[in-house]
């Protein structure tokens, strides 16, 4: 009997939640320990292909965006933002950046992970969010740490051949830079194994997300927000595959046993934007009370897929660098309006979505500044009710729960009408 099994219809948190907490804690402890022991430390933007580091013996990576999300989720976002503001960084800057700068320049105090170990190399990337380049430049200037930029062209359509070649060339620079700086040799076979594991993990991830198609849904988007964390700390590892396989298995079992996160599910919603990390519990609970379940999110269904698609892009076992280069556009932010619309239309159909919540996120312009047109498309072309609420993914000071819920309730009324 699986640990999550209970009598039919009664929801119980499965073991994946606890396993996740342990995994994330161990990942951060391991990061600090290995850095202390002399591993070469790289700070990366989310999209930078961490699987490449698997090709080295002693290279560890940290993702400041992910760390900032964790801080926001644990409630330390505002205090860390205020520190950065005290150092002169505008409140209009991305709250992830402010949390990270506040953490880094105050020695990791108020961070649940005691911050991140000091980097030997910074690697940013332009396509998910080009301000990451400026953000990492802050450390480059303050600490004199080299900063390598991966320039991934924004995609208004599927990746072009010449863009692919351009990315491959940059991977070459990235590898030779680490080899030179760390004195280690890159092993392509090891990187291939990391890529194979990532590809396998993504299949399990999509199997987990697939339970959003069940009615009532087997998951909430909030589960996927929380469960995506190890993609950023354990990418390219066996433990990530195992975790997502168990997560999908447990979810399957709960669905089989009639256990659902929102048993009285009346409204099935889709969320567009980064998670409101400071509101996960509050928002999901309050929505569930209204019979609403945000079952799907563009932020998490894009992971592992090519631009405009939903299904994972599988590794064919050949050139791992080619797979990583082709998948460099996997998040939503590098996508133009048409590509975003294609993927969203697919998910709306798959998961029988009743309405879409566009979370207009002041801290993420690249995600948000297309939403008004996307909303028009969903409304006019797909005939689905939509609403736009104001959020900030990590700075709770810029969020008003009551204002958001007034609009969310209006969406539910529109669905009823």
């Amino acid at each position: 009997m699986m640990p999550s099994e209970k009598k039919r219809g009664e929801f119980k948190k499965n073991t994946s939640g606890k396993r996740l907490s342990t995994m994330i804690m161990n990942d951060y402890l391991d990061l600090h320990r290995r850095a202390y022991e002399g591993a070469f430390v790289v700070w990366i933007a989310i999209i930078v292909p961490a699987e490449l580091f698997g090709g080295f013996e002693k290279v560890v990576y940290a993702v400041p965006e992910s760390h900032a999300a964790l801080c926001a989720g644990k409630g330390t976002g505002p205090v860390l933002c205020e520190k950065a503001e005290g150092f002169g960084y505008s409140t209009d800057l991305c709250s992830y950046a402010r949390i990270d700068i506040g953490t880094a320049f105050d020695g990791g105090r108020d961070s649940p992970t005691f911050g991140l170990p000091r980097p030997d190399l910074l690697i940013s990337n332009t396509n998910n969010c080009s301000l990451l380049v400026k953000w990492f430049d802050v450390y480059h200037r303050a600490w004199g740490v080299p900063h390598l930029v991966l320039d991934i062209p924004f995609c208004y359509e599927n990746q072009k051949e010449r863009d692919f070649r351009y990315i491959m060339d940059q991977f070459g620079t990235l590898i030779s830079t680490i080899e030179e700086m760390s004195g280690q040799r890159f092993d392509l076979d090891k990187a291939r194994e990391s890529v194979r594991l990532s590809s396998e993990a993504m299949k399990e991830w999509k199997r987990f997300l697939g339970f959003a198609a069940h009615r009532p849904s087997g998951i909430t988007a909030f589960d996927s927000f929380v469960q995506m964390a190890p993609i950023l700390t354990s990418r390219g590892t066996r433990r990530l595959v195992d975790h997502y396989r168990l997560l999908a298995d447990e979810t399957a079992e709960q669905v089989k046993n009639g256990i659902f996160p929102v048993p009285g599910e009346k409204y099935r919603l889709l969320w567009d934007n980064i998670a409101p990390w400071h509101q996960l519990r509050k928002m999901s609970g309050r929505l569930a009370g209204l019979g609403a379940n945000i079952t799907s999110a563009s932020y998490t269904y894009c992971i592992g897929a090519l631009e405009g698609e939903y299904d994972p892009y599988e590794f064919d076992g050949n050139d791992p660098l080619a797979w990583l280069a082709r998948l460099q556009n996997f998040s939503v932010c590098p996508h133009g309006l048409n590509l975003r619309g294609m993927a969203m239309k697919d998910v709306i159909g798959r998961n029988a979505i009743d309405g879409v919540v566009f979370a207009s996120n002041r801290s993420c312009k690249v995600y948000s500044l297309m939403q008004m047109d996307q909303m028009r498309y969903i409304r006019e072309e797909l005939g689905l009710p939509c609403v736009m609420i104001d959020v900030d993914h990590a700075d709770v000071r810029k969020y008003s729960e009551e204002t958001a819920f007034t609009r969310l309730e209006a969406l539910l009324e529109m669905i009823d009408a």
């Binding site: 209009d92 800057l93 008004m372």
Partner: protein, 412 residues
């Protein structure tokens, strides 16, 4: 149109009114304001094929060599204050640059622009092509759109320069189809010569302002007007203006200051700066010095020319590989120009600028230079009193320190 510019050379006294971004001096004709859209109407009526460009450093020479008249859609905030169209597409936390250019394209673009060109820049602007394109399509006034990805990695890497070359070749092919003309190396070379002439003149005019021969606010207007007139007209105006002001005696020099930002502050604030006894002797403004400071070597090969231009461009927050040289360049300018004050003219919501301000500020203050941070938003252009007060306070502080230091010197 030209008669208006002719008026500019009638320098008969103090300026009474501005139009279309150019200063207009008292004299015949009185003061008639000409907006950016009206300037384009004039250009259209003269038979120009207009290509609206953004952001600030497009391959102007290449577009010009195909017989197009590039107009840079930047800094339209003073001309476009009502955002009825763009507010249907962009949230209010987009910067004023993006919102006003969107408003212009959506409301008048179909009528005035023959094409649009954009290259990759910040996270806000890269979203615009499809937003603008789909809206124009929906309203039955589609505009051809050209795009170029300029590498955000150093062009010293061979693959990056190859990538840029390929992009330029692709763009040339698209422009050939659009204009029905073949690319001509000789015409391109001529265009590069003209643009370098404009850059040289712009630098010369700026030097005149630094020497106190004309006000920086006027200098800024003359330079910004490049974005709304033909290249030949702008060169001609710069030549005549420089001739005129070269002969003038240097004016009163106030406390020397430097400005930095994406755009110069609104005219009223420039006036306030000068009224308060400050003299702008140097700038690090994207729409001004950053745009024309570097003169690429003449070349008939667009690939080679743009590699040179973008690789050696004056450092800018929007040119990511120039980050390392930016601080050095600012510091060198601060020292060489002997400024005592430095004003950051922040464009509200411009993250590229805001990430760099603290580092620049620390560096400048360590040099003993006082700083002031202003932040200009879309709604601020019509409500500048609070900024004026801050400028006056900043000027008083600088003047006080200057007098104090003079007294100390006298005592010694």
């Amino acid at each position: 149109m030209l008669y208006l510019y002719n008026d500019i050379v009638i320098y008969s006294g103090s300026r009474t009114v501005r139009y279309g971004g150019c200063p207009r001096y008292g004299g015949k004709g009185g003061g008639e304001m000409q907006s950016f859209p009206d300037s384009l109407v004039d250009l259209k009526s003269q038979g120009h094929t207009l290509i609206g460009c953004f952001p600030l450093y497009p391959p102007l020479e290449l577009l010009h060599s195909f017989g197009l008249t590039p107009v840079v859609l930047w800094g339209l905030r003073q001309d476009i204050t009502h955002l009825t169209r763009s507010d249907r597409h962009l949230q209010p936390y987009a910067c004023g640059v993006a919102r006003s250019l969107s408003e212009f394209v959506l409301s008048r673009g179909g009528e005035l622009l023959d094409a649009i060109f954009m290259y990759n820049a910040c996270d806000t602007l890269r979203n615009l092509p499809e937003i603008l394109g789909s809206s124009l399509d929906r309203h039955g006034s589609p505009i051809p759109l050209f795009r170029l990805h300029i590498p955000a990695v150093p062009l010293s890497r061979a693959f990056a320069s190859d990538y840029l070359n390929e992009g330029i070749r692709e763009l040339i092919g698209e422009l050939e189809k659009f204009t029905g003309r073949s690319f001509s190396a000789q015409t391109f070379l001529n265009s590069t010569g003209l643009y370098n002439r404009q850059r040289r003149l712009s630098r010369d005019l700026e030097r005149l302002a630094a020497a106190g021969r004309l006000r920086f606010s006027d200098c800024s207007d003359f330079l910004l007007s490049a974005g709304r007139m033909s290249l030949d007209d702008h060169i001609s105006i710069l030549e005549r203006t420089i001739r005129e002001f070269n002969g003038r005696a240097p004016g009163h020099q106030g406390v020397r200051i430097m400005l930095s930002g994406i755009l110069p502050p609104p005219v009223a604030l420039l006036d306030a700066i000068e009224r308060a006894g400050l003299t702008v002797v140097a700038n690090d403004i994207a729409a001004l010095r950053r745009s024309y400071d570097y003169l690429p070597a003449a070349s008939a090969d667009p690939g080679a020319y743009y590699q040179d231009l973008y690789r050696n461009h004056y450092p800018c927050t929007t040119i990511l590989p120039s980050a390392d040289s930016r601080l050095e360049t600012i510091m060198q300018t601060v020292r060489e120009s002997g400024v005592q004050g430095f004003i950051f003219v922040g464009e509200k919501f411009c993250e590229y600028e805001y990430f760099e301000i603290p580092a620049v500020k620390r560096m400048i203050e360590a040099e003993g230079v006082r700083t002031l941070e202003l932040e200009i938003g879309m709604d601020d252009a019509l409500n500048l009193d609070a900024y004026q007060t801050r400028i006056e306070a900043f000027a008083e502080m600088l003047l006080h320190e200057t007098r104090g230091s003079r007294r100390d010197n006298d005592a010694v």
